[in-house]
Symmetry: C2
Subunit: 212 residues, 2 copies
DNA sequence: GTGGCTATGTAAGTGATACTTACATATGTA
DNA sequence: TACATATGTAAGTATCACTTACATAGCCAC
């Protein structure tokens, strides 16, 4: 069980006084809680209880609750970047399916980890100007921009690539939210959407003017 | 200062013991707080303070915090339906601009009331099976479906109308989220998006197969 | 080893919150 | 006017975020 921040997990028995691995185990507990009860209804206290330490212990590793959430979000975004990169490797550069696969990865993440998805995007509210998060976000979106640029035969810094990538992002992002919020199913939109969405992305990616 | 639920506001001086209008004033206070500090960081206690009553008073009007939020969301959705209906009246049936105007109204709502937007969609997490909210949501989406069906010359219960309306919803919804989360601007997507989005909606609404 | 420095844990508080309970006071209606 | 009901208060419970003072473990120089 490798951890993306370098700390070692695995030794799950706590050794009397000193725990040895609290930070990582706290994040693990918080992630569980976020999925179980939502990002707004979990408490640091309960995460501490799950890790078998006192309610003050977490504050040796994190300044406050927000910092815990930020660390979790960073971890999740790292994983996201990793799985997107893995997906990229399965298709040749420029392939449309590469782009569609990225979208599917995004939607799958939301469906499989709705609590984390909410957290990642809900956190913007309280961490508005955070540099680390912004950088991580740019790295993620950058992957999409490059894939789109390659497909269109554009340079990655051509605004047209950003423009089209952004439109694809809105679709995938909107669908992810509506899905985890149950809106899609609730409104009778239960037919398979993946083909539909990739058809739309084909339109958006068609050569020609995107509406400048 | 008319209230959409029929209770009268306006007499803002509280009359000694009995307040006369607590429910409406609480909702007003909560809405302010939600915009100021976010849906997760407001407290019933503070709303009560703003309304000039004890912290126990709200519980004469609402069972718990969740019920307050639900009432607020219902109010917001009502307003949304009203303004969407108003927009509809400005364009002839079947007009594409009618549909685009609906989308713009949605995005404007998110931009102007990000706290409420977050609340409306964030609430699904805790009110998953709520009938009233589902019904209200269906009414809202129904407006879009009808406009799309009229434009395409389809019956409103044709699944193709729902399908296309849903795609438009994902775009508008995704863009709204990314905008209020600051992602759009953060990623350098600051060029005017309204034309771009309406160009995309034209693609989605074009006659022909949408990717069945 | 021993002494001491630092990292990491605990216990016991502080102040705020959601919500409850017992009681008080208006208001409307028989 | 009396009484039922609606609506408010005060005080209390349990929980939480976070702090402070103290304890212990690991580690390094010597």
């Amino acid at each position: 069980m490798a951890q993306s921040d370098g700390t070692q997990t695995g030794n799950s028995k706590r050794d009397a006084y000193h725990h040895g691995n609290l930070r990582a185990q706290l994040l693990e507990a918080v992630e569980q809680l976020v999925e179980e009860k939502g990002a707004e209804n979990f408490s640091i206290a309960e995460a501490a209880r799950r890790a078998g330490v006192s309610s003050a212990a977490p504050y040796r590793h994190f300044a406050d609750k927000d910092e815990v959430l930020k660390a979790l979000v960073m971890q999740a975004m790292n994983r996201m970047i990793e799985s997107m990169s893995a997906v990229m490797a399965e298709f040749p550069p420029g392939d449309v399916d590469r782009i569609n696969a990225l979208g599917r990865e995004y939607i799958d993440f939301a469906r499989d980890h709705p609590g984390m998805f909410r957290l990642v995007f809900g956190i913007s509210e309280s961490h508005d100007g955070d540099e680390d998060l912004a950088e991580q976000g740019a790295a993620t979106f950058g992957i999409v921009i490059r894939a789109v640029a390659e497909h269109l035969g554009l340079s990655a810094d051509d605004p047209e690539a950003t423009r089209r990538a952004y439109i694809l992002w809105t679709i995938v992002h909107g669908h992810s939210w509506l899905t985890i919020d149950g809106k899609a199913k609730q409104q009778g939109v239960d037919f398979p959407l993946s083909e539909m969405l990739s058809a739309v992305s084909n339109m958006v990616l068609a050569q020609g003017d995107s509406g400048r």
